[in-house]
Amino acid sequence: MHGIYYVILPLFAVLLVLLTTAALYMGVFRAHRDGASAARKALSGVASGALACLAWFFMYSHQYLGW
């Protein structure tokens, strides 16, 4: 592992979390619809973000810690 990987891998982790957040936000909470209330949108955003972080936390720690 050299140079550029130290930049790419964290960026990639951010991308994975964002994509998962988006998928949960739209696919599970369905908060992207126009009809959804602002509160619902905000709560769903936080919840999906948290879930995405949790999921990838376990994936990454499985990978790097070898649980």
């Binding site: 050299h2 810690l65 070898g66």
Partner: protein
């Protein structure tokens, strides 16, 4: 051709196995599987991992399944009790109070408790080659080989555990000056004359073990005592412990219980109660655990824990290291944990406790017995073995045998299943093992059409394989049934570049070519009719692809020609070796003792790059290009540092075993020390008197080791001649005249006359009396007295049968040439001469020729010629056939000329980023192969089936593939 080679390999393997043929039906403990057993490095259910303990110390864990001593007869295969076993091993050891990780049938467990004792066997006698059982313990004592100094015997032994593993072979003798006498040596710094005494003790101390020899002969030996540790009981916790911060004078909830801690002057009173605190379940005064090792002593251990078996809990109190730094509980690890940042105490509560007893059945499966093997140095657990306690038979109706039942979080199930199918008369054609994931190995019969005459195998990459196959690994690696094994190397933007390859070993993935026409390997006999195996080899080390400039570079000392005999090469016995394909006879040698005083030796922990990439500036050189001393490993025995030092030869091999040194132990039992290690090292003529042994460096008061300055040799076979007083004979262009012979005094007077009759030189050869015989043949001064050398000719007294009928028996040498250390080779000044010495005895050990300047190979210069002989013919040529600037795609080495050109297979059959290679077999090559045995054997299987090797090398504790990680 392929079949012939295969047959040859099998025959060799069988021959190798012959001494053990009688063992098949006997107790298999401490014995190896058959020499042709199958080794497969990988099965998913066998884990190979590195975990850390609570102090951040890394432990490499590995598992294996082994079957040994099997027999096939009339369509049925039988395995004796102890023949089929599962083995889990940790690097170094696992001890209580450390949360040391351990694998138990695939589960990550912690060792929490041990009960230990000592075993002693008195008056053990055995013959050379024997593996004598020590009582019914399953241990064996192995007499490997014997040799001599001044014709007095010394020998190598090993104590073999039931699994077949042993930590090292130790040299021992009964008739030489003892270790302590080294203290009387006082030499000047620099080159000194040869030591007359040869130091080798009759007692070998190895931490908790002690072996005392009473008589060591050439063919038999007796030990008055063999003492080593034993583990009677071990307790594992199959879960991660629960960690709760201690609240003084208060409690913490642990599930449905409370754990109280009350401060007392000498620890904490721990009280475990029910949920409400109304009922006291257990109570004990417990001292906090820290890293001091004496706490694991049997008389101390009990003070550090509260164990309640009926509640399945064990409570310890630890002082937290700084934020559990370096533990498996946090992903980042930045330093070595030993410091504690604060006084926080935590309960460590272990649950899912399993206690197993040595020699007793495994709790989940009565068909298997538990064997607990200690580290013979520390007495702590190194291996857990589960072996069958009843004979196992495979036949038409029983083609599978289940392994022990494993503990599991999901369901306790069989850990593996050995399947033997297609038993056909005296061979099996299909053997495989299925693990608890349901995944199976490839067929372990490599040539199913021919079948296999036993069902022995070793499955898994455990370092214990190395001692187990000690006697057959060379045959295995030299097996050419699959062609020349070439491991692909990965391209690297940052290739390992070194400016000088002295003291380096070749890349661990360097291809090994056991045979190449033109490189000699032959047996000869000396005057005493002893068998001598002489062999030549070629080694390339430290080479790399300089991809920025599109070239291949072999650094100085990178291209080595080496010639060696199976033991050191002695004068006065007409011993010969090969030099560039021709037999050369050793005539004289000049060597001395190189001494260094008052120097510091850094531990290799301090690696400047921080990436495990060792820099060799921590080597301490002992004489110019003679030997290098390294501090390669450090352990503690009851918190006293034990240094393991390595003496490296110029070729990159280690001389002998590690030297273990520690200070301050008392060998008297009354002192209460569990361990003893000597604070002096002596083996033959190499000795160390340390001033201070620390965990970080060793300060050495005096170190001495032999150094060889030059040798002389001749290609002409010496002639024998009996010469009486007044007689003369031709010697080259001269005339040799004998003036007087005195058999009583053991002397004779010789004179050398040239053509004109003028005396060119004269000498009184001898005296060959008892005093001289006590120092022959190794002592240089004494040996020289038996020789009369003038220029290129020499006459030598036959020291075995010096006089007969008033005549002296002489050996005449002509055409003598000199090889002086660090001078250009006579016939090819592109190469330098580096004769290497035996560290025991000052004799010639190895002749090396290497390049003082880097060798560059590229598109314009794809060929390099090796060292040339007197006729100007190179011994071999390095030929790069295809190189794309980054990876070598095809290259080979060839010998001979047009009509009889011999060439190796393509040594980059899979692309490689270096041209390191091992060609031929001699001691040097064997040493290199031994260092990379496990990854090499592991890769052979990938090669066999055409698969790619895994990206990450297995983390066996001995060899991990990259040579930088290996302790040498």
């Amino acid at each position: 051709m392929q079949h012939a080679l295969r047959l040859l390999a099998i025959t060799l393997a069988v021959l190798f196995a012959l001494p053990g043929a009688g063992w098949a039906a006997t107790d298999p403990h401490g014995l190896s599987p058959s020499a042709d057993m199958t080794f497969l490095p990988h099965l998913a259910g066998l884990r190979n991992k590195t975990y850390k303990n609570q102090y951040g110390q890394k432990k490499s864990l590995s598992e294996a399944i082994v079957l040994r001593g099997s027999e096939i007869k009339d369509g049925a295969a039988t395995v004796q009790p102890g023949g089929l076993f599962y083995l889990s091993e940790t690097s170094h050891d696992a001890r209580p109070l450390m949360r040391d990780p351990f694998l138990v049938l695939g589960e990550h467990a912690c060792l929490v408790d041990l009960k230990t004792a000592m075993r002693e066997y008195r008056d053990v006698a055995l013959n050379k080659g024997d593996r004598a059982p020590l009582g019914d313990s399953g241990y064996r004592l192995w007499f490997d080989y014997s040799t001599d100094h001044y014709e007095v015997p010394y020998a190598e032994f090993a104590v073999i555990s039931p699994s077949g593993g042993f930590p090292l072979e130790f040299p021992i003798a009964s008739e030489f000056p003892k270790r302590e006498e080294v203290r009387d040596i006082h030499l000047e710094e620099g080159l000194n004359p040869q030591l007359e005494k040869f130091y080798l003790d009759n007692t070998y101390y190895f931490g908790a073990s002690r072996y005392v020899a009473s008589k060591v002969g050439f063919d038999d030996a007796e030990f008055s005592s063999i003492a080593f540790p034993e583990i009677t009981e071990a307790t594992f916790s199959l879960q991660r412990p629960v960690i709760l911060e201690v609240r003084q004078e208060d409690y913490r909830f642990y599930l449905n219980k409370r754990i109280y801690a009350f401060r007392r002057p000498d620890g904490f009173l721990i009280r475990v109660t029910n949920f409400t605190g109304g009922q006291v379940l257990a109570e004990k005064l417990v001292k906090p655990v820290t890293a001091q090792e004496y706490k694991t002593r049997p008389d101390q251990l009990d003070k550090y824990h509260l164990t309640i078996p009926e509640l399945d809990m064990r409570v310890e109190i630890v002082m937290d290291p700084a934020f559990l730094k370096d533990s498996d509980f946090v992903p980042w690890s930045t330093g070595k944990a030993h410091g504690y940042s604060s006084g926080y105490f935590s309960f460590v509560v272990y649950r899912d406790l399993v206690t197993v007893k040595n020699g007793q059945p495994w709790p989940l499966d009565k068909r298997y017995n538990v064997v607990l093997e200690p580290n013979l140095k520390t007495g702590m657990l190194q291996r857990l073995v589960l072996e069958n306690n009843e004979p196992v038979t495979f036949d038409k109706d029983h083609d599978a045998y289940a392994g022990p039942v494993k503990y599991s979080d999901v369901w306790n199930r069989t850990a593996f299943k050995v399947v033997v199918k297609d038993l056909d008369g005296d061979v099996a054609r299909n053997i495989y093992v299925r693990d608890y994931y349901g995944m199976r190995t490839d067929n372990m019969v490599m040539w199913p059409n021919e079948g296999k005459a036993d069902i022995d195998f070793f499955l898994g990459s455990s370092p214990v394989l190395e001692p187990i196959i000690e006697r057959s690994f060379l045959t295995r690696l030299a097996d050419s049934s699959y062609g020349t094994v070439v491991e692909e190397s990965r391209f690297s933007s940052y290739p390992k570049v070194i400016s000088d390859a002295s003291f380096y070993e070749p890349d661990h993935t360097a291809p090994f070519v056991p045979r190449l026409g033109g490189l000699m390997r032959k047996v000869s006999r000396n005057r005493n009719n002893e068998r001598l195996l002489s062999a030549e080899a070629v080694v390339i080390r430290g080479s790399y692809v300089d991809y920025r400039n599109g070239r291949i570079v072999i650094p100085p000392a990178g291209l080595c020609y080496t010639s060696r005999n199976a033991r050191n090469i002695r004068t006065l016995a007409g011993e010969s070796f090969f030099l560039l394909g021709r037999r050369a006879y050793l005539t004289t040698f000049s060597s001395g003792t190189f001494v260094r005083k008052d120097f510091d030796l850094d531990f290799w922990k301090n690696q400047p790059m921080g990436d495990g990439n060792l820099m060799y500036w921590q080597d301490e050189l002992l004489g110019e290009r003679n030997k290098a001393l390294r501090y390669t490993g450090e352990t503690y025995l009851d918190d006293r540092p034990v240094a393991s030092l390595s003496l490296m030869k110029y070729s990159g091999n280690r001389w002998g075993a590690h030297f273990y040194l520690a200070q301050g132990f008392d060998k008297e039992k009354e002192a209460g020390d569990r361990y003893f290690m000597p604070d002096l090292f002596s083996e033959g003529a190499t000795y160390i008197q340390p001033e201070y042994i620390g965990s970080n460096y060793v300060k050495i008061r005096e170190f001495g080791t032999p150094s060889l300055q030059s040798i002389s040799y001749t290609y002409n076979k010496p002639k024998s001649l009996a010469l009486g007083a007044g007689e003369s004979a031709g010697l080259g262009t001269f005339t040799l005249r004998c003036d007087a012979v005195d058999p009583q005094a053991g002397t004779l007077n010789l004179a050398l006359l040239d053509k004109s009759g003028a005396v060119v030189g004269s000498k009184t050869v001898g005296p060959l009396d008892d005093a001289a015989r006590r120092l022959l043949p190794q002592h240089m001064e004494t040996a020289r007295r038996m020789q009369f050398k003038v220029g290129a000719v020499m006459a030598e007294l036959d020291v075995k049968h010096p006089f007969k009928d008033g005549k002296a028996n002489l050996w005449l040498y002509t055409g003598i040439q000199e090889l002086e250390r660090d001078t250009p080779f006579e016939f090819d000044p592109r190469f330098m001469v580096r004769p290497d010495v035996c560290g025991h005895c000052y004799q010639l050990n190895e002749v090396l020729l290497d390049n003082p300047e880097p060798i560059v190979l590229d598109r314009e210069h794809p060929v390099f010629e090796g060292p040339k002989n007197a006729q100007g013919e190179p011994l071999f040529r390095i030929v790069i056939d295809s190189f794309d600037g980054e990876m070598v795609q095809a290259w080979h080495i060839e010998t001979g000329e047009k009509d009889e050109l011999q060439r190796t297979d393509n040594l980059a059959f899979r692309p490689r980023n270096n041209v390191d290679v091992l060609v031929g077999v001699n001691g040097t090559i064997e040493g290199f192969l031994r260092l990379s045995m496990l990854p090499r054997l592991g890769f052979m299987d990938h090669w066999r089936v055409g698969s790619r090797a895994p990206h990450e090398k297995l983390s066996g504790s001995v060899n991990t593939g990259g040579s930088a990680h290996i302790r040498r």
